[in-house]
Point group: C2
Amino acid sequence: MSLRHAVLGLLTNRPASGYDLMKLFETSLAHVWSATQSQVYGELGKLADGGLVEVSAEGPRGRKEYAITEAGRSELHRWLTEVEPVRTRRSDSLLRVFFLGELTRVEAKTYLLTEAERSAQQLAGLKEAESAIDWGDDPISVHGRLALEYGKRLSAMHEEWARWAAEQLAP
Amino acid sequence: MSLRHAVLGLLTNRPASGYDLMKLFETSLAHVWSATQSQVYGELGKLADGGLVEVSAEGPRGRKEYAITEAGRSELHRWLTEVEPVRTRRSDSLLRVFFLGELTRVEAKTYLLTEAERSAQQLAGLKEAESAIDWGDDPISVHGRLALEYGKRLSAMHEEWARWAAEQLAP
DNA sequence: CAACTCATGTAAATGGTTACATGATTCG
DNA sequence: CGAATCATGTAACCATTTACATGAGTTG
């Protein structure tokens, strides 16, 4: 149930509409938590029903801006401090590695080297984002930078591993 | 739809019952792809309906052993070579990092250092598994070792990052 | 005024989790 | 003979994705 806490967390920074939140999911939270438009609007409705957020302003085109309530903030705190993070690891790209024996050596190597290449590109993208983003000093920017560093380290590790793995395949 | 390919992939090694597959998901594929008992039995039924697997033997207690068919093998090959891996990254523990500003410095540091500790333990667990496992020379063991190395590198990276991040928090 | 962006919502389908339900065989 | 393990399945619920549906305001 992290979607609901992602929404609550984003709203701690400033009030936002469903549309605004969508953009945050696509930018700041890309690589960390994805959400679709229907999920966001649906969750905002449920959070409002539960009193964890409230409509703080209405704008043109039916825009509804939501703000987190005290109850919402307290629920977020409870989640952060008392709920064990869910670690359901699922990696499509790593699952495939188990079954590389079904491929020829060339196909398997191609798979791993493509993985390496993609990681390298991802790392480049993250570095570019890092310098392009106008980092604020709000809490989410500060901690978002920690997460971005994680992404950089992960991409680098992934690339190195994939190149290593490609070399392990019998020649 | 990787569950179905995970099942097909496991069956390339040898025929297996739903019960056998469950154990494989809990051991070899733990950390890579998780599946529940209902999923496995359900998927085996659908795969059999589609002709991608077939019942190859029946045993005591209603045991049904499934084997992959030629159609199944070809579908697995298609998935490995033609289908782009799905990368929907979702990490509960990293999502929390964005919202550490809601916590006190002590709480936030505790969170990160607990993450570091868990990663260290995970690395230890993987190293132990590595030496305890009776590695066969079947293709899944060979490639499973590559995946295990990935897990080791990931745990080590995660631990280092979490310790680094804890130090970045304003003193 | 056309194209684009902003903006919200619902419906159907799929994928995944939890809980329920049952029973046979083996091992100590 | 009791406990553990082997073995299969269904039902209800929750989370996620994809597709549909609509329209207001802004910008060139």
